[in-house]
């Protein structure tokens, strides 16, 4: 491990009075034992670990990145504003150099929340990392950001939001989508036409243990980060790869999580999922905090940790090695692939269905992106949900080029309401959010 201490900010918000429902995994009790362990270890007494109270995110922060239907307040609770606000507080403390890095240990989570929000999916309503990242760019100017999503479930919401953004590298490692919610995150999901290669998915077989995660980190993630040269690295720190998690089938340990954070050295970590609230979370969180703070974490082990009993099979190791090599090749070849994809095209379309499992809503989306060499490209989305809502959105990307912006303004102006209840215009560079 690294031997130098760092100043680490901790934003702890366990929302002890908020639950999706009384017996839901996302309930009051979720971070109770984590709190107990963090308090009992006395981590907040250490000179280099500083706790901060979360601020509240605002509607403007949400509207910078989401299109909430019909509006932000209809799809969130106060708790969402605090968890997004907690992520923003973590970012503020890092950007202001009050601390070297920060961990937003907050709930509810956000990485399944997509750009358009009709309700909650995968326990998430709004994407707290995405809100945080756009807050950073809005407040501190342009930044190249890498998100490494280590939640066991594919971070499909973050992928959707940054799909067309070449300035945000999104890497998700997760349990193979054929065996787990949300059923996506295959290696051929590789980014939109203007950002091809800037979404990277690494599906791992069930049973992957520390070895497999760390192999992927060392041989794929870290080399790609070296080439991308981000200004900020964000760990979307889900903890459900743990061997004791009730919702998943992986074999990651507290030691593994600590090692991963030590080597990845994220500027900001934000809690996502993780529902082994008693056997895993107390140890995983203490491990991550110590690793971020540069303190010896080698004694942080679960009481029932027996590495030999959860070690991945040789076949799993071979599979991961082959996959890592193949994905690295994909990354290396991203430029020619893009050239072939966009050749002679002005617009590209995709049609898809999105299911909101938490709120039982189905959505159909038609998304169109303008092929652009100057920016992420103008996006329009027509969306219809089983709630009866039909909307149209025009989205000028961050660092949008004049041509995309002009085109977007034209489309917003000329599109008649027709069968849509609402038409939205989002231009985050100018902090413009219009609804008609």
């Amino acid at each position: 491990m690294s031997d130098s201490k760092k100043r680490t900010g901790l934003i702890f918000f366990p929302a002890f009075d908020w639950a999706i429902s009384p017996t839901h995994p996302e309930r009051e009790e979720r971070l109770l034992y984590t709190q107990d362990q963090v308090f009992e270890e006395g981590l907040l007494d250490l000179d280099n670990i500083i706790e901060f109270k979360p601020g509240l995110a605002t509607t403007e922060d949400i509207n910078r990145i989401h299109i909430c239907v019909p509006d932000a307040h209809s799809v969130i609770t106060q708790s969402h504003l605090i968890s997004a606000g907690g992520a923003i507080t973590a970012a503020e403390k890092v950007m202001q150099k009050e601390v070297d890095n920060a961990f937003a240990l907050v709930r509810p989570p956000g990485h399944h929340a997509m750009r358009i929000v009709h309700g909650a999916r995968g326990f998430c309503n709004i994407n707290i990392e995405a809100i945080m990242i756009e807050y950073i760019r809005h407040t501190y100017g342009h930044k190249r950001v890498a998100i490494v999503d280590t939640d066991c479930h594919h971070g499909d919401g973050s992928q959707d939001i940054f799909w067309h953004d070449p300035d945000t590298l999104f890497i998700s490692i997760h349990q193979d989508g054929r065996t787990l919610y949300p059923g996506s995150g295959f290696s051929d999901e590789f980014g939109g036409p203007n950002a091809l290669g800037y979404t990277i998915n690494v599906p791992l077989p069930p049973g992957t243990s520390d070895e497999g995660f760390l192999f992927t980190l060392d041989n794929l993630i870290l080399p790609i980060l070296d080439e991308f040269k981000p200004d900020l690295v964000i760990n979307s720190a889900g903890q459900d790869n743990h061997y004791s998690d009730p919702l998943t089938d992986m074999s990651f340990s507290a030691q593994g999580y600590a090692l991963l954070n030590d080597r990845l050295a994220p500027d900001i970590a934000v809690l996502e999922g993780g529902y082994s609230i008693e056997s895993a979370l107390p140890y995983v969180n203490v491990g991550i905090i110590l690793a971020m703070a540069g303190i010896d974490y080698s004694h942080v082990t679960e009481p029932d940790y027996r590495p030999e009993t959860i070690r991945q099979t040789p076949q799993t190791s071979r599979h991961i090695e082959q996959q890592v090599a193949a994905i690295y090749d994909l990354w290396k070849g991203r430029a020619p692939r893009r050239a072939a994809l966009v050749k002679g095209k002005e617009w590209l379309h995709r049609d898809r269905g999105i299911f909101y499992d938490t709120d039982m809503i189905s959505e159909h989306q038609e998304e169109t992106v303008r092929i652009c060499d100057e920016c992420g490209g103008l996006i329009t989305i027509a969306s219809e949900a089983s709630t009866g809502n039909r909307i149209f959105a025009v989205i000028v990307p961050g660092r949008g080029c004049p041509a995309c912006r002009k085109k977007g303004e034209e489309i917003f102006e000329t599109t008649g309401k027709g069968s849509y209840q609402y038409i939205y215009f989002q231009d985050r560079d100018r902090d413009i959010f219009l609804v008609k």
Partner: protein
Amino acid sequence: MIIGIDVGGTHTDAVLLEALQIKKKAKVLTNQENLIESLTAVTKEIFSGEDPGDIERIVLSTTISTNAIVQGKTDRVGMILASGPGLPPEMLRIGKDTHFISGYVNHRGIRVAGTDSGEVAGIADLFERENIGHVGIVGKFSTRNPGLETEIGDIIGGRFRHRSFGHLMSGNLNFPRRIATTYLNAAIWDTYSTFVKNVMDYVGHMRITAPVYILKADGGTSKISQSVGYPVGSILSGPAASIMGILSLTDGREDAIALDIGGTTTDISIFADGVPLLEPLGVTIGGHKTLIRGLLTRSIGVGGDSRVGYEDGEFTIGPERNGPAAAFGGPSPTPTDAMIVLGLTDIGDGGKALKAIQEMASLANRSPDETAQEIFDLTCRKILSAAGEMLGEINDKPVYTVHEILEGKKVTPTVVYIVGGPAGPMAPYIEKMGGYPSCVPEHAEVANAIGAALARTTTEVTLLADTEKGEVTIAEEGIQASISRGFSHQDAMDLCEETLRKRALRMGAREDDLDMEIIEDQTFNMVRGMGSMAGKNIRIKAQVKPGLIAGFKQEASDVRQ
């Protein structure tokens, strides 16, 4: 009649209250080498001509424990730690006689690994060979399951002079602090027991039968006989006495700042609705963060005798004191000299004060009056800004529920109480600069002794009921009992209050003074497997809050008038 005695660093003060009026005050120099001598001297003075039978109670605030710790006059302590997974042992070690054992308890109080009696006995043998007489036994999460610590205690048996157990120190979670607290408790146990014995011998010799109380760091009292097992409770009683003194000399029910402006330092404390705030986890002493319940104070190096300097075009105040003010023959100018030059006070030698300020003025190329004014302003400003920072920290303290975040309860002082030498001259300025009305209580010179005399008995208990496990614990009382699955929040509340009541009465509280308050109250549904309700996790903390003994509030304000 009540006697209040405050053994301070320099003076030992005593007051005799009769029908709640100050009947007598006395002051002697403290003999740090022999505190009992100072006690007897001051008591003799105040007691002469009085009938011992008229004494209702005696309350002592003493530096005995604080001095033992700060001056390192402590006994060697053998520590046995059951640390389990977490921070590396190297970060937990306290002194060279720390030993780690393999048994441990997890966050729910479940014993994950049992004690190895051979291992424990081996460590005890080693302590014995090394002539260690005091042992501290501390387990991680022992407040959740005191059983492991008591079992270790049973294994090592009664062959040591003293054993301190971690779970009895506090119900709060924080293993490193529990270790430090237990260590200090064992380390000063002999010193403190001897002191108590000497006090009791003296009291017996004086034929006083009234109960003797000791003032604790949290501004509450405990019968001295009950305090022997928990000597660390009596540390830092000086600042606590001062705060309780301010409370007794004012009759505030509001949010307030209290400033005790001394020669070297200013001690700042905060009241919320007239009740002094406590440290969230415990006080810090001699570099040790502990779980010892104590009043929240911040001490800054700005006082009447602080050295005034001039560096890079700006005046500096403190943090050191080079001696008394120049007006009293000291080597450098001080805020006190500035106040003399400004005519705010007429103590000391005005000529010497002016000379010192003039030297400073020529350095700064200003007139002596301007210089004195700037020094004085800066002194007031520094004190106010430290108080403001302290308030900021209190109001920014993280909270963990949506409700509390949205409610955003804040301490907003409406008055500042000022005691100490420069209180009179500084009050109008602090009032103007800070925007708070100020109040300088009378009799402030014996505020500490009055505070001790009138402080009520305080204590707290921490209950955790886990109906899935079928167990309730109240660590401070060593309670660990079986409960039924139907154990309710109301049952927990009743048990907690009853336990608190008994504990407070045992420590010497009167029925009238049991001002109990629930300070934490949380109930969690415990869900296991695929969404089945497995039980409840109920957490309640209750306290008798710091305050004055019943019936004295009104009369205390009469004293002020």
